[in-house]
């Protein structure tokens, strides 16, 4: 995808690329001067805010009105500090240009802020729509507020949220591109769940877990999770990431489509999950993500979804996945027995 609007790209193509300081427009330079003064002012405010935070931290709890009050005040002061950091740079034309050119440094709060804003403007709205349309809420989780952008791709096939994926493509392990918009490194767990496994005996549907990988480090600058290469270079068994390896998504002939929801779950601070134990104790069939999250202290941060249904390659995929006995199984609609006809009372016709 090209960066910047068509109009902007066209304008850039035949511009002279003169740095902003050397542009010969008086008004433009005066305006820049105003913005620079404002930035200096904001930087001073940041210094003051930092000093205040340091002072409050050093202060005794009894003086600041109890532990809770102190924490609350510290939190609001931190929020104000982050806000000032953004306000210092938000009017800088160079920052705007760099963000639009995709050259923003995601370690800096202003670029994270701008990227988040851009994501929420359109792409997150589509994701929200898919979450509600495909009923991921409430079928898998009671509620979901994505704060990280998750893009799914099988090899070079990028999958938009909710797209139908050919079974031959989804047989391979996907890769994720995850963009988080808050600072710092954190560990995440990736779980893929299928809530549409048909169960004829119960006349209903069940869940199946297709993949679990834990302890994956993610930061605003390290965005790629290649799920197929997670454990390639890991020799130590305890340091393995993958708890349950990829199970290719399958759907029977005639059965309704399957949703495959990919969840990005943030692990509690400092908590490392024992993948070997999780792999042993977790059953794929009847996997309930709600209880898994409670058990492992996970919070959902990102989600994406794709769908799968019977196609011409599905028989081969099922054979290779060890489901060869189910290739010839077809789902057909059950006949609903009509209610016995009740003859109406004769009196009403007279």
């Amino acid at each position: 995808m090209p960066i910047g609007s068509r109009r902007r790209r066209a304008a850039l193509k035949d511009s002279l690329n003169i740095p902003f300081e050397q542009l010969p427009y008086q008004c433009f330079q005066d305006a820049r001067k105003v913005l620079q003064d404002d930035r200096q002012e904001k930087i001073k405010q940041i210094e003051v805010a930092r000093l205040r935070i340091a002072n409050l931290k050093a202060q005794d709890e009894a003086i600041s009105g109890g532990k809770q009050a102190k924490e609350n005040r510290l939190r609001s002061m931190h929020n104000r500090l982050e806000e000032l950091k953004i306000l210092a740079d938000i009017n800088d034309p160079v920052v705007k240009k760099k963000h639009e050119d995709g050259e923003g440094d995601m370690n800096k709060p202003i670029y994270r802020y701008l990227a988040d804003k851009q994501w929420r403007q359109y792409r997150r709205k589509i994701l929200e729509q898919r979450i509600s349309q495909l009923n991921l809420v409430p079928d898998i989780l009671p509620n979901l507020d994505p704060v990280a952008e998750v893009d799914l791709a099988f090899g070079r096939h990028k999958i938009p949220h909710g797209d139908f994926v050919d079974s031959l493509i989804s047989e391979n392990v996907p890769r994720l591109k995850v963009q988080v918009f808050d600072k710092g490194e954190r560990l995440v767990t990736v779980v893929v769940v299928d809530p549409d496994v048909p169960i004829v005996q119960r006349d209903g549907f069940d869940y199946r877990c297709h993949f679990i990988a834990s302890n994956i480090p993610i930061s605003p600058t390290s965005t790629s999770i290649a799920l197929n290469q997670l454990d390639l270079r890991v020799k130590d068994a305890s340091a393995k990431h993958i708890a349950l390896p990829w199970l290719p998504p399958t759907a029977h002939r005639g059965a309704p489509y399957h949703r495959l929801a990919v969840f990005l779950l943030r692990q509690a601070d400092g908590k490392v999950i024992d993948t070997a134990k999780v792999g042993d104790s977790t059953k794929r069939d009847g996997f309930i993500l709600r209880s898994f999250m409670d058990k492992q202290k996970l919070t959902p941060v990102g989600v994406t979804v794709f769908r799968t249904k019977w196609d011409e390659n599905m028989a081969g995929v099922m054979q290779r996945a060890g489901l060869g006995d189910q290739v010839n199984m077809e789902f057909k609609r059950k006949r609903v027995e009509p209610l016995p006809y009740k003859k109406k009372d004769g009196a009403r016709y007279r």
């Binding site: 006349d203 549907f205 789902f331 027995e337």
Partner: protein, 195 residues
């Protein structure tokens, strides 16, 4: 109202007819174009309110079990029915589909039970022309030669073959008598639904 509280309904049953939307379609129900509420799943009719969905509306829903009450708890996984059966099929049957089963008149009153295997029709020589409704269709002369292309043989008419004539008229009379008998049995006037 056709079905009242906790009556058993099947998909398509009309639960409530109304002018305007006094009632709205809730769980496992849908609303027709004249605001009729009908069931989309088999179950038990419930009349209820759902303040989380809308503060003022009243809903008609179908619960899967008589003991369940509507609305279902918010944020719980939806209750869904599969309504399907798993059938073992051999890979061949998927290609050969039975189009129609029954009495097909072929040529000259020769009646027999047939099964027709769907084969991809040879369409290479087909010329499509634009018809009156702007849809592309076969030309009339091509349609007229369809029987010839399909290789359907008709027994030639021989003038003076009285035996053949008697056979045909007898068959026609028998068919008519059967038809008349059916009509007589139905009796009682009015439309009767096929069961």
């Amino acid at each position: 109202m056709t079905y009242s509280i906790e009556e058993y309904v099947i998909p398509g049953n009309i639960i409530f007819r109304q002018r305007g939307t006094g009632w709205f379609a809730g769980e496992n129900c849908a609303m027709g174009r004249d605001h009729t509420i009908y069931a989309t799943e088999a179950g038990f009719v419930k009349y209820y309110r759902d303040p989380l969905k809308h503060p003022n509306r009243q809903y008609i829903g179908v619960a899967f079990k008589r003991t369940e009450s509507l609305p279902y708890p918010p944020n719980a996984a939806r209750r869904r029915r599969l309504n399907m059966l798993a059938v073992q099929t051999s890979p061949d049957t998927s290609i050969t589909t039975i189009i129609g089963e029954g009495r097909i008149l072929e040529g000259d009153m020769t009646v027999k039970e047939t099964k027709v295997n769907a084969m991809p029709r040879h369409k290479s020589g087909q010329e499509l022309v634009m018809g009156k409704t702007y849809a592309f269709r076969e030309a009339n002369w091509q349609i007229g030669r369809a029987a010839e292309n399909a290789g359907i043989k008709v027994r030639p008419f021989i003038p003076g073959d009285r035996f053949r004539a008697w056979q045909k008229s007898a068959a026609r009379k028998a068919a008519n008598a059967e038809k008349r008998g059916l009509r007589g049995k139905r009796g009682g006037g009015g439309k009767s639904k096929r069961k």
